[in-house]
Symmetry: C2
Subunit: 214 residues, 2 copies
């Protein structure tokens, strides 16, 4: 499926690419609001202003569209956290990223939760190819968090006992769980509590903090 889709994409004209993107975006938005399985191709078609033949020209079936939506939402979530996510190198910049996540959750997550987490919850048991596509997006997110934490460590502000990989997974689970609780409670309270708790733990153990007597 992957190679065929990539091959098809490279042959598209710029107009074709724009229509393809419009279909993916319409599907992503509908699915974020109403769930992936509840969203029909007819609704996607109508929202994107595409004809049936256009839709099937770009996507052989709903699973192929779903895979593109997963990639689109994964990129969208990680892009939305920039530049803060990519700039993590100290406790101060870690807190800036925390604030960005909470702002995004406050604006979008209190109803729909995490765009990629919600898809992951809904589709992981449904299809192996989609499950793998979801895993790739979540891995990339964890990798970018880990990269920032490793920079804090190499700058001497993260305890030597802390493994950036393990801590990145802890942050990612806290974000995913926090966004799920945001969806249930319509509040970012638990997300903020979890991120603040993690940052406090990191701070207390920070070599810099120890030097100034904590």
């Amino acid at each position: 499926m992957k190679d065929a889709a990539a091959g098809k994409r490279s042959q598209l004209t710029s107009k074709g690419r724009a229509m393809r993107e419009r279909i993916i975006q319409a599907a992503a938005d509908l699915m974020f609001q109403g769930g992936a399985q509840q969203t029909s191709l007819d609704e996607v078609k109508a929202d994107a202003g595409a004809s049936k033949s256009q839709l099937y020209h770009y996507f052989a079936d709903k699973d192929e569209l779903l895979k593109s939506v997963i990639e689109f939402q994964g990129r969208r979530v990680i892009d939305a956290e920039q530049p803060e996510l990519g700039e993590i190198h100290s406790i101060v910049t870690l807190k800036r990223w925390r604030n960005k996540i909470v702002r995004l959750a406050d604006a979008f997550g209190r109803i729909g939760g995490c765009p990629i987490g919600s898809l992951a919850n809904e589709l992981s048991a449904h299809d192996e190819i989609l499950r793998e596509a979801l895993g790739l997006q979540l891995d990339e997110w964890a990798r970018q968090i880990e990269h920032g934490l490793a920079k804090i460590k190499s700058n001497g502000n993260l305890s030597r006992d802390i493994d950036p990989r393990k801590l990145s997974l802890t942050f990612l689970t806290a974000i995913q769980g926090g966004l799920l609780l945001a969806k249930v409670s319509r509040s970012t309270h638990a997300l903020e509590a979890a991120l603040d708790q993690l940052i406090e733990f990191v701070e207390v153990q920070s070599p810099g903090q120890r030097q100034i007597g904590r």
Copy 2:
């Protein structure tokens, strides 16, 4: 809806209660496997061995059944963590609870994730009454974690700087996020990393640990 349902329940014979429970359990299992919205009342009926009139005798509509399924799964998840969850009073018993969660996730969560978390993800945006029912179950779970953490603190093994409420929400988000990642990766790796990271943080800051020179 709540009062009517409770009133109806109190009038049931023991045979009626057993049938009602059988319907709820069949619905819970089908929804855990295939999603709440994808599960039809016809499938529930068939799996429970109930007639259509029995089903509608106990539940006015699918939303009333969903509310009962939420309560059932919330109890089931919290009960499954016993006795370890209720016995938390020290770092050692906290670790025993961690092991129980990982064992449960390994047995059930790698395909379906968290029974209550999956419902929360699917239904929170769908209906206000269901969203509130989901919130009550997650609140009760957090409350029981908090209760254990408060006992660790009153036993002098949790840093005075740590708020058991805030830490309980951090654990709950890590569990929810960890179970979501378990569903995507078919592995408890991220769940274990997050729980271990949190327990390590708690241990490093434990007054007991400090006394013995860490």
